[in-house]
Assembly symmetry: C2
Homo-oligomer: 340 residues x 2
């Protein structure tokens, strides 16, 4: 067995801690699956003096820039947000590292740029965890459905709003009451804007559209309407007709095959549709493709451990490529569709 593959971890929050834990607890299995040991060389955190149970304190550093540029085989970025994540990833790519990130905002805004850098440098750029947390979704779209023509995607990709809408459906309660409950349970942020106004879903819709339709879509291109105006009465009326209201991310190819329409808004779904049974904080993405027909992916969209599962899956893929000196398929953007 060759020398260990080195891994730098940028970010020590909930997801970062779960990633560090999963890499450490699954060390033997990961070594067997990859064919070499994974060696965590450092974890960049905001405050290295803060006690972190289960994490070797010698690994902690406040020098994210230095760690990102240290030329490890793989750099994992789970800081989130545009900066400093973007600069750190650019620096890591320039130093020859493959990238695994969970950063939806960054990918939705600068995905094309980062893909270009990674392709030029001959490194992997993976971000399975950026959309629908634990659900293996981007790799199937990028690879398994690569022989097919995707025509439409319908996604419940925000757990917070799905939790709120499920509660409103079950209890007949109003939005403001259920939001408070979701905040108390930790399912919603103190400032819930990014979730309830659909910004989070729009970023994910942009990423999904790029992969499914082989074109560039950014979060700003996405028509967006939140779910704050959905009332208990709306839900009751939908229910009486055999429908449930969900906040959907929708991306579809136009009939002339020359454009894509990407939007986020509340939608009525018949109770017989597979998406109707996606309850609480779960996510699901429903895909229609010409040959495959209807396909759906379902699972947990957020949380430390589920997100870490996707991150470490990407790490295994990138690690296998480092050993064979190859990279995974590039993003394959060739369609240049008009976003309508």
């Amino acid at each position: 067995m060759g020398s260990p593959l080195t891994v730098a971890l940028l970010g020590g929050g909930t997801v970062g801690a779960s990633v560090a834990q999963l890499i450490s607890e699954s060390a033997d299995d990961l070594t067997a699956r990859i064919g070499r040991e994974l060696k965590l060389t450092g974890i960049a955190v905001r405050d290295a003096s803060k006690p972190r149970p289960g994490v070797d304190s010698k690994l902690l550093t406040e020098d994210a820039a230095g760690l990102a540029a240290s030329g490890t085989d793989i750099v994992i970025e789970v800081i989130g947000g545009i900066e400093p994540a973007k600069t750190l990833i650019e620096s890591a790519i320039a130093n020859g590292s493959s990238i695994v990130t969970a950063n939806k905002a960054l990918l939705a805004a600068h995905g094309a740029h980062l893909h270009k850098l990674a392709e030029e440098a001959g490194v992997d750029l993976y971000y399975e965890a950026a959309v629908a947390g634990a659900i293996p979704l981007l790799r199937p779209l990028r690879e398994s459905l690569a022989g097919d023509k995707v025509t439409k995607i319908l996604g419940i990709v925000n757990g917070t709003t799905n939790f709120i809408l499920s509660k409103m459906y079950n209890d007949g309660a109003d939005y403001s009451v259920v939001l408070k409950e979701a905040q108390d349970l930790g399912y919603a942020e103190a400032d819930p804007t990014a979730d309830v106004e659909g910004f989070d879903s729009a970023a994910k819709a942009a990423i999904l559209s790029g992969l499914a339709f082989h074109t560039n879509v950014t979060a700003d291109d996405v028509y967006r309407e939140g779910m704050t105006k959905v009332t208990a009465d709306d839900i009751a009326a939908a229910k009486s007709l055999g429908y449930v209201i969900k906040l959907l991310a929708i991306a579809e190819l136009t009939e002339d095959d020359k454009g894509v329409i990407v939007r986020v808004h509340p939608a009525m779904i018949p109770l017989t549709h597979p998406l109707a049974s996606v309850r609480d904080a779960f996510n699901a993405v429903f895909v229609e493709a010409e040959a495959a027909g209807q396909v759906m992916f379902y699972g947990r969209g957020a949380g430390g451990a589920p997100t870490a599962s996707s991150v470490v899956g990407d790490v295994v893929a990138a690690a296998r490529h480092r050993i064979t000196g190859s990279v995974g398929p590039a993003q394959s953007i060739y369609a240049d569709l008009e976003v309508r």
Copy 2:
């Protein structure tokens, strides 16, 4: 752009015809995604004189052995059954071709042997279409969940029996009546044994277990009970309790992590479970993993076009590897668990 990648197709039945059609109709997209053209060099069929609309008759040959051994970049096998498929695939691997197959019976019986041959020869062996047709399932298990520990799989992996059980549930009809209807609609074979006695599900359970638990399981290892003894009364009783009866393929790691239990039998599922809403000829596989939690994959399990979608997705993956001179991750069998 380099010279075209050559592809030989073994089998001209429903799936073979759909594969040939998809490769031909999607030629431009496939070229853009792969980076090179795919060139079909021949289609091995039983009767080359039979007219096949949409297929270039010059490609047809009755010499499957010659075509399999012709050293094309990729050999697609959609004949099904153990022989001659096994000999043809062995010969193709010996001649340096990467393999894409939809052959569940062959993989469930001789998967370990074929994986070994492919690994030694440095070629890909892909079979996404062998389990749950169009659903991207094996690649996610092999790659996306590679950082996680799968503990349990529950699958509705046979469309025929799911169609029959759905009909019995909805109509209150007896097995024999619904079987006749399924046969008339083409959902069940004249001899339905392989489906209704669970042999088909058992082969798929064996393949899924191997990938999920990194151990060798063959179809003969699987405990198997069909669904022919499920009566309309059983289903009505289950329904009144809030359950639905499905034929499940179940594979689970034992608590001591040293064994796997793999079985196929009718099971009661609460109506609130995501598998309960998998109706008619659809398939779904529900996976529990330690970090990811619950994940489900849903879609069409059979049919020419859906199966072709998976086959051609595998062809794209294998083609990309040919260009970079690499192969995808091997099966990564290392666990040697006892099948209980």
